[in-house]
Symmetry: D2
Subunit: 124 residues, 4 copies
């Protein structure tokens, strides 16, 4: 069985859908994790590798904003990973389609927005 047979949509739709899945997975899995300036790099690596482990992800990058992180530290020297400091980019490849999407805090919306940055189907 191929999962493709279970979808009722175009390949472009599927590629876009997968992009949404990956960004929301990241956010809702790791928000709340205990981070500090020393371990943030390890978290970034684990989160990136976690994205790359999922289907149709060609590239992924995750970063924790160190300026926000430092401003959020408790007297214990760490804080919970929050929506203002988590940033990510992902590229999906599916049946020739490439979708780039990203997650980041948008101050004007006061919201951690997940958005589509580019969709294309390169000529082979």
């Amino acid at each position: 069985m191929r999962s493709r047979d279970l979808f009722n949509c175009t390949d472009r739709d599927r590629a876009v859908f997968e992009a949404g899945i990956k960004l929301a997975s990241l956010y809702h899995q790791y928000i709340g994790s205990p981070v500090n300036p020393e371990n943030a790099g390890h978290f970034e690596t684990a989160m990136e590798e976690g994205m790359k482990a999922q289907p149709f992800v060609s590239t992924a990058s995750v970063s924790v904003d160190r300026r926000i992180l430092k401003a959020s530290l408790s007297p214990y020297g760490y804080c919970s990973l929050n929506e203002r400091m988590l940033e990510a980019k992902v590229e999906i490849e599916y049946e020739g389609w490439r979708v780039r999407a990203s997650l980041g805090w948008v101050e004007e919306l006061s919201y951690p927005l997940m958005k589509i940055d580019d969709i294309k189907k390169p000529a082979k």
Copy 2:
């Protein structure tokens, strides 16, 4: 500012993207929650209402498979919500587009598949 200005895609793409976000949010937020036959209904309600609180969700339903739940109970009478027992359906409405998507365990793939079930733009 409207979030729409930050997207580089069609309205259909956006609707599909939002569907992926909602299902992955559900999965990665709640997997691991302590459930038993008595509280499962409360979790279903909270998870549904959590989906409906998010942008562009017109309907949502979440269910915990009681048969799998009962088979997974520890001697303490509860277990962690897992990928085999969580099922959900969501409908997104965005700029006239309606996307229906769902989450559920697919035994043949041994995988909790999130999939697109229908995309349409009804005539007004």
Copy 3:
């Protein structure tokens, strides 16, 4: 097999340990959940019932601070459950010991503190 045989501690220690487990479970499971003034009550119920499902919990109460919640809402009318708005109390009963513990934001520490409020062994 009883889990008690696997512990190397007193009954009082065990009761205290279980209290720590319950509060941290709550925090790290649900931080990030999509809440708004309409669904917060459903989340409180589910979180409470999730605590009560776990071993040795005699009572539990969870509340989402509505003032903080309303101040945190995005333009979409909801926000992610965060460390400043989640409050909980739990009582553990284990082999005659009763431990009360709580979770709440402490402004002076800028920290969501989990603390022990009372430990006693009532005469029968």
Copy 4:
């Protein structure tokens, strides 16, 4: 303000309570994360460093059982981190007390047990 002033218990109680917090934090934060044999090491490091970032943790080790991991892989080559594959040890030091505690699947209980392995107050 010291958090100690807010606790109503002995130093031993506090040390034990903190051990419970750390193990439950780990479990409920990361269960559901996308793991595979290639990224599991990165997750172990991030989870360990996340434990060490928290107050009063002197040592921590986390491992993902590779045998269970491999047996749980979906056709996509990864799976969600689950209760059967996550193992951890932590040592708390608080006001002279040392508490060792651990998390691991106990087959006889069909349960991911968090337990206290040792409590002592070494002579200085």
